[in-house]
């Protein structure tokens, strides 16, 4: 884990409120599901913002984020050539090495981007990956999943594209050995319940407000069946059966 200042290679709006940020990065490997704490300000904002790795290349990292508040709006103003600070890679990530057989990745909203990097790593280790991607309206990042996924199922809330409704309607966990999910809590709970019913291993990537991002402040602790866990350090990925939803 390092704290570095890095150069912005690109920062583009891809839908109404979704942006893709590409930064120079020559450090060690990034695991599936890991994230970075980002900041593009000095102390105007107090805290850094956790954003998952969307894609990792040899010399660059990609993030995909939705502008929801002050921090992400400031990030949206960044220009190519500018600088940003990164702390990471943070968190445990998905245990790709242990995952065998067929995998479904199930994402919703800005839970989708981290599943792209995950799909790639799984694909590279020879795992078959299907993607189930649920969007509010306009899909994004679909082409980024294509190289790594066998099938891609898309849903939008009002049927703008793909299935109209929730992406969980399309999922049949029994077709998979492992299901990996990231997105709104209600979605992940639903996925976890479906997996539990069919006795399929399910990993969830949680979101929680964070201060330090590295396990020092206990600002992101949650209660699990194995005691209190820090989402930033012990997570963000947890096996669904450990969670106490």
């Amino acid at each position: 884990m390092k704290y570095i200042e890095s150069k912005i290679l690109a920062n583009q709006r891809i839908t109404d409120d979704i942006f893709v940020l590409k930064v120079a990065y020559k450090e060690d490997d990034v695991n599936a599901g890991q994230f970075f704490m980002l900041k593009s300000w000095d102390s105007e904002l107090t805290l850094m913002r956790p954003i998952s790795v969307f894609k990792a290349e040899e010399d660059a990292l990609w993030f995909m984020y939705r502008t929801v508040g002050q921090g992400t709006r400031k990030m949206a103003e960044l220009k190519r050539g500018g600088r940003i600070r990164l702390l990471g890679p943070c968190g445990n990530g998905y245990p790709c090495g242990e995952i065998k057989g067929r995998v479904a990745v199930v994402g919703g909203g800005v839970g989708i981007p981290p599943l792209c990097h995950t799909s790639k790593l799984l694909h590279e280790q020879g795992t078959t990956v299907d993607a189930y991607l649920g969007y509010r309206d306009e899909p994004f990042a679909l082409e980024d999943f294509e190289p790594w996924c066998t099938d891609i199922f898309v849903s939008t809330e009002h049927g703008e594209e793909g299935y109209r409704g929730f992406v969980t309607d399309l999922l049949h966990p029994e077709q998979y050995d492992v299901v990996i999910t990231c997105g709104p809590e209600v979605m992940m709970r639903k996925v976890a319940a479906m997996c539990a019913e069919k006795d399929v291993t399910c990993y969830c990537s949680l979101e929680h407000r964070m201060a330090c991002g590295i396990g020092a402040c206990l600002g992101c602790s949650i209660r699990t069946k194995n005691g209190m866990k820090r989402v930033c350090k012990d997570g963000p990925v947890f096996q669904s059966t450990d969670l106490m939803w």
């Binding site: 107090t46 805290l47 407000r209 201060a211 600002g219 992101c220 209190m228």
Partner: protein, 303 residues
Amino acid sequence: MDKIVNLSVEVAGVPFKNPLIAASGTFGFGEEYNELYDVGCLGGISSKGLTLHPKDGNDGIRVWETASGMMNSVGLQNPGVEAFVESGIAGMRRFGNVLIANMGGHSMEDYTTGASLLSDADIDMLELNISCPNVKSGGMAFGIKAEVAREVVSEVRKVCRKPLIVKLSPNAENIVEMALACEAAGADALSLVNTFQAMAIDLHKRKPVFNNVYAGLSGAAIKPIALRMVHSVCKQVHIPVIGIGGIYTAEDVLEFVMAGAAAVQIGTVNFNNPLAGRDILDALVELCQREGIADINEVRGIC
């Protein structure tokens, strides 16, 4: 050639190589930040707040950003004094700087039993937190009224065989009276301030952000108030005072020292810049050189 600056200070007989201490609750037991830089460069580290028994802390949202600050409601999640003594201290020791055990409590017995256990352990100083506003019962109460604080400090003093720092709450009814009461009760040093009791509302949900409704405010926002409190306490007590509250820069450090602080703690800034400890230290040396300060002890209390 750059002039050499002496930054070493002494607090209650304990030598610190520099006045920068990581503040309790923001730095864990030092381990995580040590992955980013050698935290042994700091003067000392105050441990995550301990309680006699392990605690899970509060449910719900625990941290929330505010204008130039943040609120927290961690609720003293910690492994308990015993686990700290058995497996926490060794890790902190290896940094080679001053090891301060920060301890809170819910009852007089918790405080005295904890202090007694820690006195037998390999710590350099005990920081008694009579101020954490996050625990529903106890906690808060000790730090509000001077008479109550006097009692708990007196009792702890009897069993404590380490230099005793008492950490004051800015929510105290009268910070100077509180300081004088703690001094009279036998504190070797004071540290102030802890977080300010504050509130955040989630407009859309139409309810308080924190399950406990109120939570503690820290960060740059509170610095001017913290500086005033440190200044007014330093003018009245004869024991050393560790300044805390919104210290983000070397300039802030020097201001607190000028207000009378023997040393300072940095908390929230660690989240803004995970290398803050090291960066502020480097900047402090340069700042002293620029300002013609050969020894930081020269400017203590000049304001």
